[in-house]
Symmetry: C2
Subunit: 428 residues, 2 copies
Amino acid sequence: MAEVDSSAIGQLETQGRAAKNAARDMAFASTDAKNRALGLIADGLINHIKEIGDANSLDMEAARASDIDEAMLDRLLLNSRRLEGMAADVRTLASLPDPVGEVFDMRTMPNGLLLGRQRVPIGLIGTIYESRPNVTIDISSLCIKSGNAVILRGGREAIHSNRALVAMVADACREAGLPDGAVQFVDNTDRSLVGHMLKMRQFIDLFIPRGGAGLIRLVLEEAAMPVVAGGIGVCHTYVDRNADLDMAVRIVYNAKVQRPTVCNALDTVLVHREAAPAFLQALAPELEGAGVEVRADERVMELLRPIYRNLTPAAQEDWGKEFLSLVAAVRVVDSLDDALEHIRKYGSGHSEAIITEDYSAATRFQREVDAACVYINASTRFTDGGQFGLGAEVGISTGKLHARGPMGLRELTTYKWIVFGSGQVRLG
Amino acid sequence: MAEVDSSAIGQLETQGRAAKNAARDMAFASTDAKNRALGLIADGLINHIKEIGDANSLDMEAARASDIDEAMLDRLLLNSRRLEGMAADVRTLASLPDPVGEVFDMRTMPNGLLLGRQRVPIGLIGTIYESRPNVTIDISSLCIKSGNAVILRGGREAIHSNRALVAMVADACREAGLPDGAVQFVDNTDRSLVGHMLKMRQFIDLFIPRGGAGLIRLVLEEAAMPVVAGGIGVCHTYVDRNADLDMAVRIVYNAKVQRPTVCNALDTVLVHREAAPAFLQALAPELEGAGVEVRADERVMELLRPIYRNLTPAAQEDWGKEFLSLVAAVRVVDSLDDALEHIRKYGSGHSEAIITEDYSAATRFQREVDAACVYINASTRFTDGGQFGLGAEVGISTGKLHARGPMGLRELTTYKWIVFGSGQVRLG
């Protein structure tokens, strides 16, 4: 890796310091001021469609010239429909309750001390993300509403779009009277700066990476501050012996097909051997119609070979793989125990489902699977802040500390203990 | 640092794997079985006073021979009074509610999905601690009650005591029917093994160091898994212009003198210049009587010189220093703003207090101080799981993520989302 330009490091540290200072005041920003900023951001997305679109065109041209794939081009695109959708999301966020200041576990102790926990912002959030420029708006608006400052480092491909979006966000914050410098954008795509950013523990309280497995691993390994990471979803749906097969087909189809490029989409179907013939018979035409490629174990190969064209034997690495596309691995298991063992071995701790009418199997699955979200008789596609009633989310945590599953506004806060005394001293 | 013996690494990894496997079953251990184990540990501390005492004598002899200081010798000592106290603490822990399984935020979504968060153990807790062998009992019993497995690495000085305690704990777990291997003790004091332990992310879910600043820094810097660290308490008490001076003297005296060797003891007194003459006049005989050395800024020097013997000018490094002894730094400030600025600059985010009768000053202090525990008119000595009604604690977190302040049973758990469906699939 090349030496980093020392003036770029100086600039990054200046931004870190400015954001840290702004974080102090952001913690006391009124809900009104924060919501005003969000309203102005939503307006800005609509009123500046032309400027943002022009900036985005520069990114799209550069991307096309560099022979990037279609999926990535699609992620990069900001058209007016998308900008309107983003504006609507920001307005929804403004309508959610402010988590800051909420007091819980308040109690009076026998000595008369009144004490409890009060929700406060975390401070300065650092984030690195890849191509999708809407993440710039998602994360900054979540940080604003939760009273945090943020330092954003987006992808090289989206640099023009991000620059335009951040300029608009900064204007909105200024006009709303929020502290200067609360939203910082690292306008430098030198990769070696990332390593430096991950060491800035003196400024950044929490790091949230958004992107592929490589980026997440880099951040987990290199960051000197706490990290909440997620996004890698290897999601299983287990069709039990006593499943309602119509329901099982509907759920598996939905989990795989409705939006295959996201982390809560199905990757592997496990099916009990007694249910396998009838279930696969019913599932095959649905998946085939949607263009799903099936990677099958031996028993599934045998059952599907006569009726499914897009079929290949599963390789070892297909178990535990996040496909993010219209591919599903399918395996027959002999028992609930085998399904649990498979999930333990190959799951990523994101979302797992059982389809069953058997009460004991359902409760045992829910109890024993160690994942952020464990479903009975529903699609794993529901793992999402909005679907869980939390509003927008900054990501889906697959870690176990601080936050698990969808990370909404509340998960962007911490708490402090507040203690009201009247002269109490400790005796023993 | 010397090469580590590869068989020692192999042994450590075997223990990590065994504990990780045990963690799976610990998560489902019944409250009855866990409480039975705690009862047996309490009995064991009393019934094995002789064996534990003999083992402790070996440590005490070795410590004396190596010219260790009195404070450390005292921390190392296990006598029957201390063992009885430890047994009583373990019985109290048994009487607390089990946090595992509690369900919260449960709600029915518009599509009929019933979902909420269920408290579950974290998994495998790793810990490194220094001389005090009672930490072995504290942490293992907290981990047992919260359904976690634990891997303990105590100090070299306490190796014989720890060995005896852990053997007794293992017997208790076996007799109570808890999974084998849930409490692992690293019976090897080679320091270079610690670095290896801190990299075992595949086994250890959370690391909790207990000890001095050097140990905490090492763990924060080297650990590959999440860390909740604490224990460094640079605690300020600010005596405001409008303080009740009798109360202020009582609280400052208590916070400094009642138990000076612990993290929630007072380090620095800040006093408003208008209150300073009368307050210091009243405080001086109390502190002098307790043998407290005062390190004073210029204005305090002037006021105390005629009436206080054990007085020295504060050096720059006395601000922000955790004394852990009968030493207090004392400074006059011109305003609440200056007090807040001092605490921002020198505090460690542990416990901070204001003494005042002024409502606005009290609320502003509580709002603006960013620390785990912020007090109005009470002694910082209350920052403690037991005093906050949480029961025993595994430490006091000065980090902002996952847990802040006293870490009791609940803070040794995480949650998973449990979702009860009836065939729901996602449409948009």
